[in-house]
């Protein structure tokens, strides 16, 4: 076997707990792709974005339950496109167009519903526009689905600032409780059968709802006792001044955020809005950081935001920025007009930018082999 060359040393290592990619990096990457998708309605570019996200998921997802949810997001995307087209066909579309596909019988509506139309002419332009618009929304959803499949939600919550830690624990506990609740529900439905009652239908479900909830309540009380006995909620002594500053910063910050957003959205006062919002956010953030001092917790093996994480997040940001620039430079190619109906052009520059989103499939650590794989390797070749 030849000694590994410099390239082999740069190749992505197998993922272990120590080198696992920071969950936040996956989210930044996915949000970058989503931002790019929001800047274009060109179906070729959108399809390319979905392909890129799908390829990275296929290359780097683990065997964890959340990783299998990607298929669900793909189905959701398809559903969104179909729904959008269906609405355009049934309710008509503001896009006029000349290529008549077919005409639905139009339903006469009372006068006060003048702006709504049911049925009527369906043109090729309108259907095409609706499909592209739906595809954009679907691509956004699929990008979020990719982040969801690639990033471990529990680890993401662990990266929250200390003051939000307990909220994170609550979410993790809820996530483990939900499957237990479903298992309880199935078990008790079986037990109804043992009592000679029907095990299907709404009544059966209602009949077991109360015992299931009672069981869940008992379990939560037991869990609360166990968590308390394991030191959950131990607090450090914090000087009074710090405590007061924390409260002031948090409350003041939240007020600032409210006032700032109002200023931004209201007709006048937009000039004051932005600085107020920024100051409010800063104060709230300071409050959170100071609040973390009250908790004496330390963190076991936190995920590090290393070079590979920067590359993954950077790839997402680059896609967003470059596609944004391309859409400013060549609006016709990225947002082709609906009328007249033409085949969408393929913008090579923007497409190259989107392909940058494939970088994580190379640089992110490879997920560990599935349990079956090592056995296959040991088999005589």
């Amino acid at each position: 076997m030849p000694a590994p060359g410099p390239l082999a040393r740069l190749a992505a290592p197998q993922a272990t707990r120590s080198n696992a990619l920071h969950a936040g990096a996956w989210w930044l990457w996915a949000l970058g792709l989503a931002a790019a998708a929001s800047r274009t309605t060109n179906p070729l570019l959108l399809a390319l974005l979905v392909t890129v996200a799908g390829y990275v998921v296929a290359a780097r997802r683990t065997d964890a339950p959340w990783a299998h949810a990607f298929r669900f997001f793909l189905l959701l995307g398809a559903f969104v496109v179909v729904l959008r087209v269906l609405f355009a066909v049934l309710l008509g579309s503001p896009i006029g167009g000349t290529r008549l596909l077919f005409t639905l019988p139009e339903m006469p509506l009372p006068g006060w519903l003048e702006s709504v139309r049911l049925g009527g002419r369906v043109t090729g332009e309108a259907v095409m526009f609706a499909a592209c618009d739906g595809l954009r929304l679907a691509t956004l959803l699929i990008c979020l689905g990719a982040a969801n499949a690639l990033a471990n939600p529990a680890r993401l919550l662990k990266s929250l600032p200390g003051a939000l830690y307990e909220a994170g624990v609550a979410v993790v506990v809820a996530m483990t409780f939900a499957p237990q609740l479903v298992a309880d529900l199935l078990r008790l439905r079986d037990a109804r059968r043992l009592r000679g009652r029907r095990d299907r239908g709404v009544r059966a479900l209602l009949g077991v709802a109360r015992p299931v909830l009672e069981g869940a309540l008992e379990r939560s009380v037991a869990l609360a006792a166990a968590m308390d006995a394991r030191g959950y909620g131990r607090t450090a002594e914090v000087p009074r001044a710090v405590r007061r500053t924390t409260t002031a910063l948090t409350l003041g910050g939240l007020l600032g955020v409210c006032a700032g957003s109002y200023g931004l959205l209201a007709a006048e006062g937009a000039g004051l809005g932005l600085p107020l919002l920024a100051a409010g956010l800063l104060a709230a953030l300071g409050g959170l950081l100071l609040g973390g001092r009250r908790s004496a917790r330390s963190r076991y093996r936190p995920d590090r935001f290393g070079a590979r994480a920067w590359l993954v997040a950077g790839a997402g940001a680059a896609v967003a920025v470059l596609v944004g620039l391309a859409s400013a430079a060549d609006p016709l190619a990225l947002n082709p007009p609906a009328v007249p109906l033409t085949a969408p052009a393929f913008p090579p520059g923007a497409a190259a930018a989107v392909l940058l989103g494939l970088l994580p499939a190379v640089v992110a650590p490879r997920p560990a082999a599935r349990p079956a794989a090592p056995a296959a390797k040991e088999a005589p070749a």
Binding site: R197, A226, A229, R297, S298
Partner: protein, 549 residues
Amino acid sequence: MIRFTQVSVVHGDGDGADPVLGPVDLTVPEGELCLVVGPSGAGKSTLLGTVSGLVPHFTGGTLRGRVTVAGRDTRHSRPRDLADVVGTVGQDPLAHFVTDTVEDELAYGMESLGLPQDTMRRRVEETLDLLGLADLRDRPIATLSGGQQQRVAIGSVLTTHPRVLVLDEPTSALDPAAAEEVLAVLQRLVHDLGTTVLMAEHRLERVVHHADRILLLPAPGAAPVLGEPAAVMARSPVHPPVVALGRLAGWDPLPLSVRDARRRAAGLREELTAHTPPPAPAPTRQAPLLTVRRLAVRRGRAEVLRGVDLSVRPGETVALMGRNGAGKSTLLRTLVGMHPPAAGSVELAGADGGAAPVVPHRTAPGRLLRHAGLVPQDPRDLLFAETVAAECAAADDDAGAAPGTCRALVTRLLPEVRDAVHPRDLSEGQRLVLALAVVLAAAPPVLLLDEPTRGLDYAAKARLVDVLRALAGRGHCVVLATHDVELAAELAHRTVVLADGEVVADGPTAEVVVASPAFAPQVAKVLAPQPWLTVPQVRAALNGRGGTA
């Protein structure tokens, strides 16, 4: 290490109510494995709770006197502030876990204490090795077996290096192999790390020989006894079969393990050579109530049962044994139609033996109820109503029985239970018998029980044995899936051993159980090669000296 000074606990604010516990006045020295024994309701859990601070901080009630652990008064320290000296593990490990993977779970307690990162890293590695969990470090906790989960639960409190470990029935829910895993770990902690362990347990035959000292709580509010295991066992109302045998034979000091007992049993074996145990009653010639032929059951793509044959006649009691996951529960569930057979057949005898046989998975639940009844592993699953009276009325209604049938059964089996009690407030044993009564309201000839002795103390178990014997005597057939070899020895005429979904042994209990050390009851191990199974058998033989030669 743990000092109780005039401790008593009363529910509520404590005016006039009887104490749940105490007065307790004693000291548990450092580095000992102290076993807390006593019948249900004697205050074992409450005693453990006062050490971890959960009583009274979490449960309410009034604590009088003082409990100090490593010099800290639990009255003034909340459980979370005691987390660095006391580690607590309960009976259900799933109610203990806060995170989702093994490694995070081990670190959780240390994170709460705010230990530095490198300390945490080192201790997690040490604990993984100590408990043999290194291969499981990245596994989601939900995918582990019961014994592994219990070991993770113990590990998760060990990482904070507590001086005292408090365990409330850590092996009650485990099969014998998993229980051995957990006990081996505890033994190692006491010997290698000098941890003080305070443990309550019902299954004394598993733990009593590991204990350095036994704390006996004879009854609610009665004075506790702390002493050498043999001395305390000599007067304890709850004791394992080997102790019962020792008391019967008048051995002193009492043997606590099978090994000690065998050494002293030579004389007894000699004396017993003149007798033979009563032969198992010959099987009746009546038609079987339950016939299983070449049964296979699949769940998804896995074959859970393969080629299982079984027939049970009226009056017969059959024990199903085998390790966790061998298919015992699946077989019972198939008998009540919850799984359709993938191959082979299951038939229940028709009403009065004359009508056509009943095929469980094709029969409506309401009709099937009159042919076969199953008490599931957790009897709570079967109880839906808010009072015992409502539960009984509903059971009569479900079964189409005359009103009052179920209540009459409950009164016969559990005379002390009142109508207005919530089923969840009953003790484990009472709840099991209530579930049994609910099933019996429809008078099914075939009675199935899944793991009925989980969490039962010896008294509740003895009562269950009486109830089931009476039912078999009246012509029911009983099939019970169990890990409890003592129960099988006492009750079952026949034992069927399942492994990997196949029947590997089927025969009279005395033969099957004695042939395999894993399934042999303590008395059989002590008196081998003679075929004695239970203490009552030996007692009967000794009392009727010269009876059967």
